[in-house]
């Protein structure tokens, strides 16, 4: 124990030597924020500002709202949505039709439009959410066009065709009606302020991080416990609901809406707003929206050339500032950037104060309960100390049998190695165990329960964590954020508790950070906590992946070639580290090519060739087994 503390302190000292502490909130930023707010409030009273410019201010607001809504889908999750105007249109038409036909008050229609647009998004995107990149892109374009053409064709006399819905009223607060440009200007900016507060809270929460994990690497996210499908749908629904709100406000301001407002071009503009501002950056978004609205206004006297300039400006922008005007900064911001309240100023102090039980007890469960759980686990699940068992697993790809009737047993608290020549099917078996593939036949039993065919994010929550043969980190996130994906699968805070920052959520976030910090320090990467994962050298990236897997508090850790690409010294350290994990209570399954590692640390070795098991036993037995030698070196003639 004393030894561990000394190590930690030593690392901290090192890190203080090598790196500056993260800066405190720069007063410049606060001043800037205050200036922007004052400017926005005072804008209608400036001497040169007439009603025309106040309206411009209002339209900037509409596009800020739309940009923020698309930013959830495109910026945070990286989903290629080029039909976002559809949701905007649904909101606007819901408002228009319900007001004109049924005289529902405009303000009551604000939430209704949001719900209808969100519900529509859920319905249309759930069958296609699995499509990748460009295929999703064309489908969203298609949805945009379908909505626009439907409105144009006046179904059931509802949309009034190309002329659009007319006679939409203004929002009425009872005593006070929102009518003049100035009213509308304040109305939309107040809503924007509320939306931004909510989105900032969401962005820096379990939900926002999950979105970013998906954007960075979908497969790694799923394998680390993120329910990719649900989080993608959530993004679409939230984004659409916000666009629906923008539609409602737009309709009540213009009092008329027509299909021309919701063209493919409109969706393209929204797309450009998000990228001009910077993916996932809320201040960037506002700047992007302002640029898109104000730019053509400035070139108004050149009427027919204004879009020509605009197109050229987009190209020039992307050449010189591809990351956007104000990209979201993650590195070097420190833990402050994570948005977790109540942290000590000194991050090292935070690390030293992490209560050990916070890390070792499964996340979310209180200690008393977890002992009960543990007792139960011990009783029913580890029959004969078998943690994991594959029974007769076969995995076929077309005519190729990658894994052939394979039986594997992993004993608790042991290191089991799976070895075999290249192409033997080892990684495929790992993918079956962790749920990436569903086996053609056979069963995977974990802790006495059948987990065959469960999705990876469910399996990891049950206690199997993995690393990848070709490292799969979340490259543009910081190391600490990478590791924070681990505890995600045991946490519960959802969208609303994150937006409202409920006390439960705050507690949970802190715990996630505690676990992540502990694991990051355990693999010796604490000093790199605020660096982007992609900037780490190869060997350290491997360690980071292990830390990320450990942070899921697994029972069984599955490592795919952990020593590949490491030098001798690093391999040596890795072996020591893996052994120390056993004393901590983990069970390990490795694929490994380095025979020194295999023979040095394994308790049990299973040999695979051409998809089948050809031998298993103690390392010394395997070392001299003629069939194994034959599989590796070929038969002696």
């Amino acid at each position: 124990m004393a030894d561990v503390t000394r190590k930690v302190t030593q690392r901290i000292l090192n890190s203080q030597k090598s790196r500056k502490m993260p800066v405190k909130i720069a007063p410049v930023q606060l001043v800037l924020l205050a200036a922007v707010i004052v400017l926005l409030i005072a804008f209608p009273f400036f001497p040169f500002v007439n009603n025309y410019w106040i309206d411009v201010g209002f339209f900037v607001g509409i596009y800020v709202l739309l940009g923020l809504s698309l930013n959830i889908v495109l910026g945070e999750v990286g989903l290629f949505d080029l039909g976002h105007a559809a949701f905007y249109a649904i909101g606007a038409y819901t408002t228009g039709i319900l007001y004109v036909k049924l005289h529902v008050p405009i303000l009551a229609l604000l939430p209704i439009s949001a719900i209808v647009a969100g519900g529509f998004a859920y319905l249309v995107t759930s069958p296609i959410i699995h499509l990748r990149g460009d295929y999703l892109c064309i489908v969203t374009i298609g949805i945009g066009e379908i909505v626009r053409i439907t409105a144009l064709n006046n179904p059931f006399g509802l949309t009034n065709g190309p002329n659009g819905v007319t006679g939409i009223g203004n929002p009425d607060l009872g005593l006070f009606a929102i009518r003049t440009p100035t009213h509308f200007y304040y109305y939309i900016w107040v809503i924007i302020a509320l939306v931004i507060i909510g989105l900032l809270n969401l962005q820096k929460s379990r939900v926002g991080r999950a979105w970013n994990f998906i954007r960075e690497d979908e497969i790694a996210a799923e394998a680390n416990g993120i329910d990719v499908r649900s989080y993608k749908l959530l993004a679409f629904v939230l984004g659409a609901a916000l666009a629906g709100i923008a539609g409602n406000i737009y309709a009540s301001k213009m009092m008329v809406i027509s299909p021309d407002n919701f063209t493919f071009m409109e969706s393209c503009l929204l797309f450009c707003i998000v990228l001009l501002g910077g993916l996932g950056s809320i201040p960037g978004n506002m700047l992007g929206a302002a640029a898109i609205v104000i730019f053509p206004e400035i070139f108004r006297q050149f009427a027919s050339y204004k879009l020509l300039f605009f197109g050229a400006a987009l190209v020039v922008m992307m050449i010189f500032r591809p990351g956007g005007i104000w990209p979201r900064r993650r590195e070097g911001v420190g833990f402050r950037g994570l948005g977790i309240s109540g942290l000590p100023k000194d991050e090292n102090e935070f690390l030293l104060k992490i209560p050990k039980e916070a890390v070792l007890v499964p996340h979310g469960a209180d200690p008393a309960q977890s002992t009960a759980v543990k007792a139960e686990v011990a009783q029913e699940k580890t029959i004969n100390n078998i943690v994991l068992e594959t029974q007769n697993v076969t995995m076929q790809f077309g005519g190729l049998v990658a894994v052939n009737h394979f039986d594997l047993k992993i004993r608790e608290g042991k290191i089991t190695s799976l070895i075999g020549p290249n192409g033997a099917g080892k990684t495929t078996l790992f993918n079956v165990i962790t749920g990436i593939y569903r086996p053609t036949t056979g069963k995977v039993i974990f802790m006495g329960k059948d987990i065959t065919g469960l999705k990876p994010h469910t399996i990891i929550a049950k206690g199997i964590a993995r690393t990848f043969q070709n490292i799969r980190l979340f490259p543009s996130l910081t190391c600490i954020e990478n590791v924070m994906s681990g505890p995600h699968c045991h946490a519960h805070s959802g969208t609303w508790s994150s937006i409202l920052r409920l006390p439960v959520q705050k507690k949970e976030e802190r715990k996630i950070l505690e676990i992540a910090s502990y694991r990051l320090n355990q693999v010796g990467l604490w000093e790199y906590r605020n660096e982007l994962a992609k900037n780490l050298p190869y060997g350290k990236q491997r360690l980071l992946e292990i830390a990320r897997a450990l942070a899921t508090s697994p029972k069984l850790l599955v490592l795919d070639e952990p020593s590949s690409g490491l030098n001798d010294k690093e391999t040596e350290e890795l072996m020591e580290f893996l052994k120390s994990l056993i004393t901590e209570g983990f069970t390990l399954l490795l694929i490994e090519h380095d025979m020194n590692v295999v023979m040095g640390i394994s308790d049990w070795v299973t040999v695979m060739d051409m998809g089948s098991k050809i031998a298993e036993g103690l390392p010394s037995e395997i070392y001299n087994n003629p069939r194994v030698i034959e599989a590796y070196l070929g038969k002696e003639e």
Binding site: R132, I138, G142, I149, L308, G311, L314, I319, I436
Partner: protein, 303 residues
């Protein structure tokens, strides 16, 4: 039956435009993994170049070479001009952005698209322009009671012939193998001695040139063109590309022809107003069943 055949032929013609434009999308995508949104507008620009050649040349080219000679000159000029324009677009709008990743490239492509379509509007005006009637071959063939204009027939034959030629080039020649290798893995292909610049030249010259041909043919078949032609055709052609499976040459051809025929038959027998809705619904249905398009290979990501 007559209506069916006529609609079918109309569909094939419009489908061949889609297919020619789709080829350009697909070739660029295959090699660069970039959706070249400016491609539809290059198609429109091609149509305008052909128009200009025919208007200027109506007096002498057509007189000296005949109507068909005029068409050939317009086609050649448009294809050359747009091929070069394609290279210029690549040089100024895409090459400096390649390293920044895919999304900035998309914005750059959208910017280029807006620039070109508004450039057309600035030069030729926002209204429809009519191809000079005496430059359009007016012969009509009749098979029984089915009538078909010769230009339509020529459009079909030339388009299909060119598609076959491209298919042969990409699938059967050594150069085609280099293109396909680059599409699979650019870095390895370059290490194997494939000159990446040549591949770029090929896809960014030939793709837009094919689009320009479709543009001139569209003008000759329908008689009039408008500056935002590229958005409507481009969108449909892009749909066709995805329908067939993006990055896949035969996929683009089949997707284009299929889309044209479907659209045309739906228009003839059900409703013109809803035809685009129908097309997109079919596309979505196909993608639900086959997430990478009709002939797109299943790309299983290696884990």
């Amino acid at each position: 039956m007559r209506i069916f055949l006529e609609q079918f032929l109309n569909g094939l013609t419009i489908g061949s435009f889609y297919a020619l434009v789709a080829l350009g999308y697909s070739m660029v995508y295959g090699v660069m993994k970039l959706i070249n949104f400016a491609h539809g507008d290059l198609f429109a620009l091609g149509s305008y170049l052909g128009y200009t050649v025919l208007v200027i040349g109506a007096g002498w080219i057509t007189q000296v070479l005949g109507v068909w000679g005029g068409v050939a000159v317009a086609l050649t000029a448009a294809m050359l001009g747009i091929g070069i324009a394609g290279l210029v677009v690549e040089r100024i709008a895409y090459r400096p952005v390649y390293k920044a990743g895919r999304l900035p490239l998309v914005v750059s492509a959208l910017g280029m698209s807006i620039f070109i379509s508004n450039g057309i509007m600035a030069i030729w005006g926002p209204r429809f322009q009519a191809y000079p009637p005496d430059a359009i071959p007016s012969a009509i063939l009749s098979f029984g009671d089915i009538k078909i204009t010769v230009i339509k027939l020529v459009t079909l034959i030339v388009s299909l012939g060119l598609m076959a030629l491209i298919y042969w080039m990409v699938e059967k020649t050594l150069f085609g193998a280099a293109v396909r290798a680059t599409a699979l893995d650019r870095d390895t292909a370059t290490l194997m001695g494939i000159d990446f610049r040549k591949i770029i030249f090929f896809v960014f010259f030939v793709g837009p040139a094919l689009g320009a041909m479709a543009g001139v043919f569209a003008g000759l078949n329908y008689g009039r063109i408008i500056f935002n032609l590229g958005w409507t055709y481009g969108l449909k052609a892009f749909t066709a590309t995805i329908l067939g499976g993006i990055g896949n040459i035969p996929g683009a051809m089949i997707g284009g022809l299929l889309l044209g025929v479907m659209e045309s038959l739906f228009e003839g027998f059900v409703s013109g107003a809803w035809k685009s809705v129908f097309v997109f619904l079919v596309l979505i249905a196909i993608l639900i069943v086959r997430p990478t398009g009709l002939i797109g290979e299943k790309v299983a990501e290696k884990v």
